[in-house]
């Protein structure tokens, strides 16, 4: 019997991140509390950069057999991994501001134990290794090509996020509640994903995506096991991307989590989960498209319309961004339904664009505060443009990019996705997409008007001076949004050349 052959160069990005996370755990256990934050930050940066360098080095040498039949580091997989690493690096700059995280997660909120920990400056920094573990899962999820690896990667990225959602320093009850909701609903949806995997296995007799594709090819697709499998796996995936019947967790979790974590999970989880969704539907279930395409199309339309409309009635800034992220999930779902390489490259471009704007927007949310912490109420943001023109205009830039105003990157992303949908003959999807974009644009413009053209009601809100790293993170996001809007071909060409799943 031969030992399985592993291609370590291709797997290196994931392994580097896992190694860094383990070192982070050791640092957390053995280093004195005063020096931890700095050391952890350096470790996280070094590992993420090393992994990114390795991803760039292997960019042209992808292979579908990196780990026997379980992992396929192909062109699209490499692009998604690169995207996730770049976005994580930017998000890490926000996470580096440990002021946002509770000093001791196990202490009861408001207890003397907690205040002692805060006064002594005993900041625990477990958030860094947790972030790295989550990133390792995110890197594995879009390149996994068998159902077990997919499930393990899904849990690997979710479990650290459940904990990170509960680490907020202020409004800790809310944060813990977000962690509980995220955990229970996340575990619920993973169970659906697993049951679906079991039925796909029962149908095809194999766990690999290629095997499922060839089973659909040879034995026909009108099989109850296959249909149950597709339905249940879709539920699990649609939950992770936050599509409409399964979106309920999104606003609560986005609102309750510490804001840097919200930015990180909104941007990176979405890229990873959509990467895996695209791979499963493009590679494994392509042959059975008549059975899932109508349903996923309907879900895409409902998701974008619901996200755009529900955002109107929100009073909280983070909930508003959450509903906007639901709408964006709908836009990217059109790429899943389109099933062509233009749609795939559009989706790849969209991940980058949406990710930068999201991290930037949540970065701004961390800056607008009163004495008790971040100000969530939208009405108290009124007139912010007069107090802090730069912050308000950067925030407006991100909102306009979300809305898809020309000359911002968001416009190009939407154009790429919708034109691919039109090309593949799903004209109603294009119409619904443009319609819900229009609804969303009015909503985003309303916020911009509130920021600049209305007089402030209260004076207790102020914009804190951002730390150097937060400033760098927001600047990178703003620059990327502008540059990719003015010169989209820089990235569009790359996305085009990487838009391929190796079967």
């Amino acid at each position: 019997m031969n030992a399985p052959k592993l291609d370590y160069a291709l797997l290196a990005p994931i392994l580097i991140i896992l190694g860094g996370a383990l070192i982070g755990v050791l640092v957390e256990a053995f280093l004195s509390k005063t020096r931890r934050a700095g050391v952890q930050l350096v470790i996280s940066f070094v590992t993420l950069t090393a992994a990114l360098v390795q991803v760039i080095r292997i960019r042209r040498s992808g292979s579908s057999g990196a780990a026997v039949l379980s992992v396929s580091i192909d062109a699209a997989g490499i692009f998604i991994q690169g995207t996730i690493l770049v976005l994580s690096l930017v998000a890490l700059l926000l996470i580096a501001d440990t002021d946002n995280f509770t000093a001791q997660a196990s202490a009861i909120p408001g207890s003397s134990q907690e205040s002692v920990a805060i006064q002594a400056g005993k900041q625990q920094t477990e958030v860094f290794p947790l972030t790295l573990f989550a990133i390792a899962g995110m890197l594995l999820f879009p390149v996994a090509t068998d159902l077990v690896t997919l499930f393990v990667a899904l849990e690997m990225l979710s479990l650290p996020l459940y904990l990170m959602a509960g680490l907020s320093r202020r409004r800790r009850l809310l944060s813990q509640e977000a962690a509980l909701k995220y955990f229970l609903l996340g575990a619920f949806s993973s169970a659906f994903f697993l049951m679906g995997s079991a039925f796909l296995y029962g149908y095809s007799g194999t766990l690999t995506l290629n095997g499922i594709a060839s089973a659909i090819h040879t034995s026909g697709n009108n099989n109850v096991f296959l249909l149950i499998g597709i339905a249940f796996v879709s539920v699990g995936l649609l939950f992770k991307v936050g599509a409409v019947p399964f979106h309920n967790w999104t606003p609560d979790v986005y609102q309750g989590s510490p804001t840097p974590i919200t930015g990180f999970m909104a941007a990176c989880t979405k890229a990873a989960a959509f990467g895996a969704t695209l791979r499963i539907f493009y590679v494994a279930l392509d042959g059975a498209q008549w059975s899932w395409k109508p349903l996923i199309s309907v879900i895409a339309v409902i998701t974008m319309l619901f996200g755009a409309i529900a955002a109107w009635s929100q009073r909280d800034v983070k909930r508003m961004l959450a509903y906007s992220s639901i709408a964006h999930a709908g836009f990217i779902l059109t790429a899943v339904v389109s099933l062509n390489s233009h749609a795939l490259s559009g989706a790849l471009f969209y991940f980058v664009v949406y990710g930068f704007a999201t991290i930037g927007a949540f970065g701004i949310v961390t800056l607008v505060r009163d004495s008790s912490g971040e100000v969530g109420d939208v009405n108290r943001w009124i007139g912010l443009g007069k107090k802090a023109p730069l912050t308000a205009s950067t925030y407006s830039l991100f909102l306009l990019s979300f809305g898809g105003i020309p000359l911002t990157a968001g416009f190009i992303g939407k154009f790429a996705v919708f034109s691919a949908a039109y090309e593949s003959g799903n004209i109603y999807l294009t119409v619904a997409g443009v319609l819900s974009s229009a609804i969303a644009i009015f909503f985003y413009l309303r916020v911009v008007v509130m920021l600049f053209f209305q007089n402030p009601e209260s004076d207790s809100v102020s914009v804190v001076i951002p730390s150097v790293m937060t400033r760098i993170a927001i600047s990178i996001c703003a620059l990327a949004t502008i540059i990719l809007g003015l010169f989209p071909s820089l990235l569009l060409n790359a996305a085009d050349s990487f838009a391929l799943f190796t079967r």
């Binding site: 499930f151 813990q176 993973s190 049951m195 079991a198 029962g202 194999t206």
Partner: protein, 99 residues
């Protein structure tokens, strides 16, 4: 015995778990129901493994067990923390996050 009976049992367990998640109010019980769903999937994996005549499904069920164990660690940590802060593990009490 007809092997499809195992699938019916698996489907029944999964349904009991799913209904339990929706109707029960205690976080621990909800969590137990999720575990029941995972184990129902395990039973389906093993049954299909027998039906298909290969061992992939049995291997998958081992992975599921390990993942479920990790989930217990994370889940109980979250539930215990929330119980200590509000002296209740009821899902209904956790309703601060409303619009």
């Amino acid at each position: 015995m007809d092997i499809s009976n195992y699938l019916y049992l698996s489907a029944a367990l999964f349904t009991i778990g799913a209904v339990g998640v929706v109707v029960r109010r205690n976080a621990i019980v909800v969590f137990m129901c999720v575990e029941l769903m995972l184990n129902a999937a395990n039973l389906a994996f093993v049954t299909f493994s027998r039906l298909n005549g290969n061992l992939d499904g049995q291997v998958a069920s081992f992975f599921t067990m390990v993942v479920a164990a990790c989930e217990v660690v994370i889940g109980l940590a979250i539930i215990v923390t929330i119980f200590r802060s509000r002296r209740s593990a009821s899902v209904d009490d956790a309703s601060l996050l409303k619009r």
